[in-house]
C-alpha cells in the first residue's frame, strides 16, 4: 500500500526488509530440517547478540557468561521445533537469553545467601533496547561492501588500531580514518533504508 509521499525507493526498501525478515524464517526452517550448516549460520548470526546481553546487559563475568551462552544455544537447539513463529526467532532468543541470565543471577545470589528479591545487576530496559538497535546496525552492515564491513567491525567492535587494520587489509594506515568515515556514511544510508516507517494502519505491506 502506497503512503502519501511514498516513492518507489521506499517501497523497494520495504521489500528488502520483508525479504530479509524471510531469511530468519528460512534459516530456522533449515535448522529444523537438520541442516548443520544452517545451525552454524544461526549461531554465527546471533552469537554477538547473546554474548552482549549476558556481558553488557547483565554484566556477567566471563565464566557465567560462557555458561549462559552455551545454555542458551543448547535450549535454542532443543526447542527450535516449538517456536510458533519462525520469523520471531530473534526476540525469542533475546527473551531466552534474559531468562537464562536471570536464572544465573538468582543461582549466584542463592549461593551467596543474598536477597533474591533484589538482583542489582538486572539491566534497565533501555540497555536491552540499545542492544537491539546495535543488532539492527550490524544487520545493516552486512549489506555493505566487504571492505566496509571489515573496517567498521575491526575498528569499532574489535578495537583494532589503524595500523593493525591497515596491515591486515593491505591498506595504508593513513587512509583508514577517511575510509571509516565513508563507510559510516554508507552504513547510515543502509540503516535508514532498513528503518522505513511502516505503512499506515491497516496497510499491510504486500
Amino acid at each position: 500500500m502506497e503512503t502519501p509521499g511514498d516513492d518507489g525507493q521506499a517501497a523497494a526498501r520495504r521489500s528488502e526488509l520483508i525479504a530479509h525478515e524471510g531469511t530468519d524464517a528460512a534459516l530456522v526452517a533449515r535448522c529444523r530440517a537438520g541442516d548443520d550448516d544452517a545451525w552454524r549460520e544461526l549461531v554465527d548470526r546471533f552469537s554477538r547478540y547473546v554474548y552482549a546481553i549476558a556481558v553488557q546487559g547483565f554484566r556477567l563475568g566471563q565464566q557465567d557468561a560462557e555458561d549462559v551462552f552455551q545454555d542458551v544455544f543448547a535450549r535454542v537447539y532443543e526447542r527450535l521445533g516449538s517456536l510458533r513463529d519462525d520469523e520471531a526467532v530473534r526476540p525469542w532468543i533475546a527473551q531466552l537469553t534474559r531468562r537464562v541470565c536471570i536464572d544465573r543471577l538468582r543461582s549466584g545470589a542463592r549461593e551467596s545467601d543474598a536477597d533474591l528479591d533484589t538482583l542489582p545487576d538486572v539491566p534497565a530496559e533501555d540497555e536491552l533496547t540499545a542492544l537491539e538497535d546495535a543488532f539492527d546496525v550490524h544487520e545493516a552492515m552486512a549489506e555493505l561492501p566487504a571492505n566496509c564491513q571489515q573496517i567498521l567491525d575491526r575498528f569499532f567492535a574489535r578495537d583494532e588500531s589503524y595500523r593493525t587494520i591497515g596491515d591486515n587489509l593491505g591498506l595504508p594506515a593513513g587512509t583508514i580514518a577517511s575510509r571509516i568515515s565513508r563507510c559510516l556514511d554508507k552504513l547510515r544510508d543502509a540503516f535508514e533504508g532498513r528503518n522505513v516507517p511502516p505503512a499506515p494502519s491497516g496497510g499491510q505491506v504486500t
Binding site: R48, A52, A74, D133, V137, A157, E192
Partner: protein, 84 residues
C-alpha cells in the same frame, strides 16, 4: 526515518563485539555432539561392557565417536551414562 550520526552508529557497532571464538565453535558443533552422544548412549544401553569402557574414559569414547571432548560434552555424557 532515523537520524543516526557517525557517533551513534559507531557506538552501536561497538556494542556487539564478537563472542570468544571457542564459545561460538562449541555452540556450532552442538548438533554433531548431540548425535555422537546419542550414539554412545545407545551403544552403552545395548552393551554393558562398552558402557564400562566408556565410563572409564569418557574423553576417549567421545573422540572415538568423532566428538570433540569439550568439558561440557564430557559432563553431559557422564550424566547420561550415569542415568543409563
Amino acid at each position: 526515518m532515523s537520524n543516526y550520526d557517525h557517533e551513534q552508529l559507531s557506538r552501536l557497532i561497538g556494542m556487539l563485539p564478537p563472542a570468544p571464538e571457542a564459545w561460538v565453535q562449541a555452540a556450532q558443533e552442538l548438533p554433531a555432539a548431540r548425535r555422537g552422544l546419542d550414539q554412545l548412549v545407545a551403544r552403552a544401553e545395548a552393551d554393558a561392557a562398552f558402557r564400562a569402557v566408556a565410563l572409564a574414559d569418557l574423553e576417549r569414547a567421545l573422540k572415538t565417536e568423532g566428538v570433540e571432548p569439550q568439558p561440557r560434552v564430557v559432563e553431559e555424557l557422564r550424566r547420561l551414562l550415569a542415568n543409563d
